[in-house]
Subunit: 552 residues, 2 copies
């Protein structure tokens, strides 16, 4: 049985899920022993410990110019000392070109089979990836497991399903019979989905697999060889993924160079060299807006970006203000706000938020929010694990130095019981008004939230929509029990191409975007031009080319 046949039902389920958009987890998200095996977690810890200070030998390293690496653990406060085979950009491009025809000539079925098989390999490494992710990004264990493991694999599977569906959208051949009165013209036509060329996937330091697997698998399923350029501070998680892909390719008798890893260092980056190479046709990018704008500005490339945005919450009327504050407090604290979907600006109208017990002013809501965050942060069984660690010192410094309006909750280090040297920072909350627009128009990545008093609900909506349009937004929360206000919010945020989560309380948060259901980033505002995974995300990676000839 071939790999396609082996995984065909799974693929069909995924395609179905893509269209139903109900809950679907291709890979179970809970790190359960029943699902992943009794020793999986311990093996993952062991793998991580053994990797320390060594060469990562799983990637194809023939002809490597050297070994590089500069990762540091935000938990350990120390270098990992892991090194990876280094190749020059010219070498990487030349190898990708050499194998491009081989990969292009695989059928969509064969490519799908191989790629899903590689996800089985990734599945067997979910705990290795989890520890690798913790100790590069600073994510808490649970998020590191879920986001980098099952959710990352889900997003990959989603891209495979979407790509496969598009590749099969039109018939491979058709008889074209044109009636001409007394006779007819008959042509045999055929079409191929020609891959655009070499694909470059540029990773980020906070979600190294989740943000990179969609582009990686979308490019591969549509026939493009891929070069993965991880963030120099978060190489290991993707190194494992790429190693598993290379293993599957090798087992299928194909060259590993169809998917290459291109590690570099902060001191000698190779991203621009790769991105500007004329052979690179596709670029996926996740990261800061200034490099993102550079990537989007490269001519002759098809580019998919996720940059950052200014995410808003609009408060109007709620049943239970405490529950709302708990939900938002968790959203702000989760991974110390180092998520592109984390809320930053919370707009409260001057008259306050309507509740069954009367109106709650912005100042009062800021206090309730403070209490909710403090309750979470100071709970030793929850706080350190929800917050995780700060990936980059600059993030800590920016939050620490931030001043605006009235300080409601000061940021601070919190102790992590497992990692004494962890770089931590609990959220800062400030109370401002609309005269501080300049301050809340910036994207302030990290544990920082602003409660902003506005004139009225209309101004709240206008500000949220306008910030999204000008600076981008990936998420938006809104709380209202008034249908008119709800429609107004939907209408205005839709104009700014921003999704909205209404009235979330309990264990579901506006930061979460589920594969097979939520399109992540709309692609319509400055937060990014691509969306996981809408049809555009796969279609733009290949070109339909037709052939025709007289039918015999």
């Amino acid at each position: 049985m071939g790999l396609f046949e082996k995984h065909q039902d799974f693929l069909n389920d995924a395609i179905k899920a893509l269209h139903e958009r109900n809950f679907y987890a291709a890979y179970p998200e809970f790190p359960s022993k029943e699902i992943y095996g009794e020793n999986a977690d311990a093996d993952g810890q062991e793998f991580f410990k053994k990797s320390f200070g060594k060469r990562f030998e799983e990637l194809k390293s023939d002809g490597a110019e050297g070994w590089v690496g500069g990762e540091e653990s935000p938990y350990l406060g120390d270098k990992l000392g892991i090194s990876y085979p280094y190749f020059s950009s010219d070498d990487l491009i030349a190898k990708a070109e050499t194998v491009s025809e081989i990969w292009r000539n695989q059928s969509p079925e064969d490519r799908a089979g191989i790629l899903i098989e590689s996800l089985e390999g990734m599945r067997s490494r979910f705990f290795d990836i989890a520890y690798a992710t913790m100790h590069t990004t600073g994510q808490g264990y649970m998020m590191a497991f879920q986001a980098s493991g099952p959710h990352g694999a889900d997003r990959a599977m989603e891209a495979i399903a979407a790509g496969y569906e598009e590749l099969k959208r039109f018939p491979e051949t058709a008889s074209w019979v044109k009636p001409m009165g007394k006779y007819e013209i008959r042509l045999r036509k055929s079409w191929i989905a020609q891959p655009k060329g070499i694909s470059l996937v540029i990773g980020c330091s906070t979600f190294p697999t989740w943000n990179s697997t969609p582009g990686l698998y979308a490019s591969l399923i549509t026939g493009n060889p891929v070069i993965v350029k991880p963030h120099p501070k978060a190489i290991l998680p993707m190194a494992i993924v790429v190693a598993e892909i290379q293993k599957t390719l090798r087992a299928a008798g194909l060259p590993e160079e169809i998917c290459q890893m291109a590690p570099d260092t902060l001191e000698k980056p190779i991203t621009k060299e790769l991105a500007e190479n004329t052979s690179v046709a596709l670029i996926d990018y996740t990261g800061g807006p200034s490099f993102g704008d550079y990537v989007e500005g490269l001519s002759g490339k098809t580019v998919f970006t996720e940059k950052t945005g200014v995410n808003s919450v609009i408060l109007h009327s709620v049943d239970d203000i405490e529950k709302v504050a708990q939900n938002l407090g968790f959203s702000i604290a989760l991974y110390s706000g180092q998520m592109c979907t984390a809320p930053q600006n919370i707009f409260v109208p001057k008259e306050g938020v309507a509740t069954p017990d009367g109106h709650v002013s912005a100042a009062r809501f800021a206090e309730v929010l403070k209490d909710s965050i403090k309750g979470l942060v100071e709970n030793p069984k929850a706080g350190p694990f929800v917050l995780g660690a700060i990936q980059n010192e600059n993030t800590s410094n920016r939050v620490k130095q931030f001043e605006a309006g009235e300080l409601v909750l000061e940021d601070g280090e919190i102790e992590n019981p497992m990692f004494k040297n962890a770089r931590t920072l609990s959220p800062k909350v400030v109370l401002v008004n609309t005269s501080d627009r300049e301050r809340f128009s910036e994207e302030l990545f990290g544990p920082l939230a602003m409660v902003i008093e506005t004139q009225n609900i209309e101004e709240s909506i206008e500000l949220a929509a306008d910030l999204a349009k000008k600076h981008g937004a990936i998420s938006c929360g809104a709380y209202t029990s008034d249908n008119n206000v709800k429609n107004q919010i939907m209408n205005r945020m839709a104009s700014s191409f921003t999704p909205v989560s209404f009235n979330l309380t309990g264990n579901i948060y506006l930061n979460q975007h589920a594969a097979f259901s939520d399109f992540h980033v709309t692609g319509g505002n400055p937060a990014g031009n691509a969306s996981f995974t809408n049809p555009e995300f796969v279609i733009k990676r290949f070109v339909w080319v037709g052939f025709r000839e007289p039918e015999k």
Copy 2:
């Protein structure tokens, strides 16, 4: 019965045709009296005569700043004197913004119903449009009828079908039920296809409706208001189409400004003002490459272009060299080569084209081609009608002045029995070799073909593929009975994203791209970045935006 119900079966047939890619003519292409009515042709002539020197009163003209027009008939050698209501770009944009919400809020069903109804209106004007097209573009009567009428309407219907299908691709709402062990989280999710914004459709002077209806209807079906900016020398054909759309909108109780006409003059063009306006989100452009590059370079816009290319024919082995020359001769002569799909470069290997009677050299083939073209051009019952007239004097001048290699067939004026003042030019044919590469690398729009002697078939293929990659190509012809050579051509031309027609003889030509079957322009090489009508052509005009809330 609503308009959607009225046209639902027709729409379903069109969607089916889009996927089967067999022959499908939504609108019959033959100007038959049985189909279009006994007096339709006479009425069309009458309409055109009556339009002369008058205001075109069918477009909404309230608040027009004046009336403009500068069309000239390449057949009559005279100005048409027709004028159209002129609005400033600011006025056009402001009006489009005013109506955008109204149009966006129409359901996909309502938009489809209205747009198909407008095509019924266009159908009733096919002969008006045919004469309008003849006397602006110089096309022969039959082409003017077919291309601007039924084929233009087919391409519009294709865009409606493709757009409607994409808009219905995902459910409007879904229940998202996530199992959480002892309980479950339930969200009600919904998605809308948010139109990107104001759409600008920039027309060309040679195929004013065929090249503009796809973008126009693709933008409208996906909810974007459209401003049609016709070429100043070919306004009337699109004025009729837009008038019919406005009529249908009015009858449906909707503002005509959902589809506006923006005529201008060569002396005072407004295209750049419109294109650069920040409210314009979508631009469709057909025309020359330099303005096309400018449009593609505008930042923050979603752009669809069809520019021009250097189309090649590769000769290797044929059954009947005369039949091949007849077919190619017709392709070169048709509308005097003023087609973006017309062949320009014919590559013949040094050893000649293999035929059952031995090899035919490049020089010999040039002679056979010359005879075929002369036979067609000098046939008074065919020549003038196949050639039509030259739209732009620059085209004539360029061909007349062109010199390279050995002159095989001199261009010349030919007499049109119906129009004494017609600006005509029969094809020029030259014989060159690969040292003249600089000459045959230019796109030489108009009646001009080069027979090029190459070292061997491999060089022919490389040149064709390389020119397509560097300068763009929209079509390619190839003649071979050798399967290896065929595969080599498919492989290399696919790498340059160029479709190939093999071994065409008889009444089917490489210039012809049929709606619902042939993707016109692949979008992968410099000849243009868009394709009629692949899914990308419609998907990029809107953005999926999701909403979610707890399910009650």
